[in-house]
């Protein structure tokens, strides 16, 4: 017998965890002498009260969809990919090379090439830890952490010594040519007669991210490979008996994961900055962990969680602008979400299971 109904598992537990995280965050805000209710109002106003706010919320959400999906796909194979940050950095390098090296006649071709480039570079950066996990048994968590730092060093070297334009002090590439400029939501909605903020950075990558959510759903739940990934994640020995190769699944799941993390770069590098800067990822790779945990590794859950974190990110920026609450509040909320939905999952789950058992017993 199931200990509790499925809906409780996918809806109730994340919801309770989220409420716990929200209550604790409110206490933190109280503790530093600010009003939590006013803070929430300010955040809602700043993130959702205008098309400008929405533009930023959706822009951040696009980033988090990619990195959240990346972590989620790895989770399905019971692999914990903390390397999303490094893979997204390398993805940025892939995008920058594609945009700078080839004179593209039109942005659509550049976008496709940039997607492929970012996927290739992100997957490449995930491939080495994946290989070491699959073949040599080195713990993927540790190797992906190490690869984040190595990625930062590589990017630093490439930007300072190779890609920096002559005479520039800034460790960043040259500006991408005008032809690879991706249409922003403003430019996409204007022909339809819908007014949208001109300055918000949300762009066509949002649609790519949503498509990625759908494709990952198809992959995980509707294909043979996805079945094998989930089977391997549930039971390694079971999968082995079913003739599923652990090496193959580990490699493929991590390559997909890395590619998804890398794809984030089409949004932040190609869509927003239009050049590659040193700290382009801004921790989005790590937020992917919270997003995947919150979304229960389901693409639709990831989509919702990414929107939530996009809201938190933009709302937090507004808070930092108008109050004395620094942006780091979002890092605290993010930590609490990871803590409650990930590490302290059983703290919420165990009492709930008891409750449902008692309810069921009362009924029968």
């Amino acid at each position: 017998m199931e200990k509790m109904p499925h809906w409780a598992d996918v809806v109730l537990i994340p919801l309770i965890s989220l409420i716990l995280a929200a209550v604790l965050s409110a206490l933190v805000i109280l503790a530093i002498g600010e009003d939590p209710i006013a803070a929430v109002q300010l955040m809602v106003q700043g993130a959702l009260g205008s098309t400008y706010g929405w533009g930023y919320t959706l822009y951040y959400a696009t980033n988090f969809m990619f990195t959240g999906l990346a972590v989620a796909v790895a989770f399905h194979a019971r692999l914990f990919n903390i390397g999303g940050e490094g893979q997204a950095m390398l993805g940025g390098l892939g995008v920058a090379l594609v945009c700078l090296m080839i004179p593209w006649p039109h942005w659509s071709m550049a976008l496709i090439a940039a997607i492929l480039g970012s996927m290739a570079f992100g997957a490449l950066w995930a491939a080495i830890p994946a290989y070491l996990q699959a073949k040599r048994g080195s713990h993927i968590v540790i190797t992906t952490i190490m690869f984040n730092f190595i990625a930062a060093a590589v990017l630093n070297y490439v930007l300072v010594n190779l890609l920096r334009p002559q005479g520039s002090m800034d460790p960043a590439t040259a500006r991408f040519p005008e032809t690879v400029h991706l249409p922003t939501l403003h430019e996409m909605l204007a022909p339809l007669g819908i007014a949208f903020s001109r300055t918000a950075p949300v762009n066509i990558s949002l649609l790519v991210a949503i498509a990625a959510c759908v494709l990952v759903w198809v992959l995980i739940w509707r294909t043979r490979l996805g079945y094998e990934i989930r089977a391997y994640g549930h039971s390694e020995t079971g999968a082995l008996y079913a003739g599923i190769s652990p090496v193959k699944i580990t490699m493929i799941a991590m390559l997909i994961s890395g590619a998804l993390a890398g794809m984030m770069a089409i949004n932040n590098v190609m869509g927003e900055a239009e050049r590659l800067v040193l700290n382009a990822t801004e921790g989005a790779g790590f937020i992917g962990i919270a997003v995947a945990l919150m979304g229960r590794s389901h693409p639709f859950g990831v989509f919702l969680a990414a929107l939530l974190f996009g809201f938190l990110y933009q709302g937090g920026a507004e808070l930092a602008l108008w109050t004395s609450i620094p942006r780091e509040l979002i890092v605290v909320i993010q930590a609490l979400v990871i803590l409650f939905t990930g590490a302290l999952d059983n703290m919420v789950r165990m009492p709930l299971e008891k409750l449902f058992l008692r309810l069921n017993r009362g009924r029968s």
Partner: protein
């Protein structure tokens, strides 16, 4: 490179290796007991902030140190709660602790001091650990060769450096020569056996996690009130992860941890002193030096240079059979 330069680099190696060593030994206790800890970075950061803040407010290094240890132990307790009591995922808990520390430190620092997430600077006698002159350092200093080594390399560090160095034989003794140590190692390899022997697995693991918290606390306090004068945002700068790398490099053994941390401290000292190293034929970029500890760890993990085998029960919550 003359003798004086070598002494200076080694001196700075010792200084930079100290926080790594303390954090590395902290991780050693935790992981030997079967609790993975990737939250070393966060605990160190929290302790660095708490110690600098309290030291700045009270003017006492010791109060600062205590506050640092207390804050780090609190995070350890959280890690224990998540990974021992509620049998959650230890890695996820570690990630959460790192973010919690990164956020809370800046949040509280901004609230207390309004200096953009930093604490006011502390000075010697006013909240910063002063260097200690070993006996006869002045008189021996003039003796060629031995003099500078003693007077500049060994003498003149803060007391926490010596604490860290003494913690190495201390840890070795505790782990390999006491009953507690035997049980601690056993609980990381085969907790069921320890349980059968009538020893509390939960108790041992909490003890290990708390020792880990204390050592991370000292490491953080050293960073903010000895190595540097005050807390700045994200001041650990990945040291917790380098310590983790050193722990793997040392294959979870105390004396090897000392050498690994000295090696990684040496790499940091070199990277700090020279930007790009010109070897004549080619130039070693500074970024390569920065990444070297991580690259070395990956190589070790890959098992190309001797295999690093973690404690067997590491990362798995212990469930008593019913």
């Amino acid at each position: 490179m003359d003798f004086q330069t070598i002494i200076q680099i080694l001196d700075s190696t010792v200084r930079l290796a100290t926080p790594l060593l303390l954090a590395c030994l902290a991780g050693l206790y935790s992981e030997r007991a079967g609790i993975f800890d990737i939250g070393l970075e966060g605990k160190m950061l929290m302790a660095a902030f708490a110690s600098a803040a309290v030291a700045a407010l009270t003017g006492s290094v010791w109060m600062g140190l205590l506050a640092g240890i207390a804050s780090s132990v609190a995070l350890s307790g959280l890690h224990g709660l998540a990974s021992i009591t509620f049998r959650g995922n230890q890695l996820i808990s570690g990630v959460a602790i790192n973010f919690l520390a990164a956020g809370l430190t800046v949040l509280i620092a901004q609230d207390l001091f309004q200096q953009g997430g930093r604490t006011p600077p502390v000075s010697f006698g006013e909240g910063r650990f002063a260097p200690i002159e070993l006996p006869f350092a002045e008189t021996i200093a003039t003796v060629p060769f031995v003099g500078p080594i003693y007077a500049e390399l060994l003498s003149g560090h803060s007391i926490l450096v010596y604490v860290a160095l003494l913690a190495v034989p201390g840890t070795w003794w505790l782990l390999y020569r006491t009953r507690f140590g035997l049980r601690l190692r056993a609980v990381g390899e085969n907790p069921a056996a320890v349980d059968t022997a009538g020893v509390s697995v939960v108790g041992l693991r909490y003890a290990a996690v708390l020792i880990c918290g204390v050592l991370c606390g000292i490491a953080g306090a050293y960073l903010a009130t000895a190595l540097q004068a005050g807390f700045v945002k994200d001041m650990t700068a990945g040291r917790g992860f380098i310590a983790l790398a050193a722990l793997i490099f040392a294959k979870w053994r105390p004396w090897h941890a000392l050498w690994a941390c000295l090696l990684f401290g040496f790499l940091q000292a070199i990277a700090l002193r020279y930007q790009n190293i010109d070897l004549g034929a080619f130039v070693v970029p500074v970024q390569f030096m920065d990444a070297l500890p991580y690259i070395l760890t990956v190589v070790i993990l890959a098992g190309f240079v001797g295999k690093a085998i973690p404690p067997r029960a590491g990362g798995e919550p212990y469930v008593k059979e019913r």
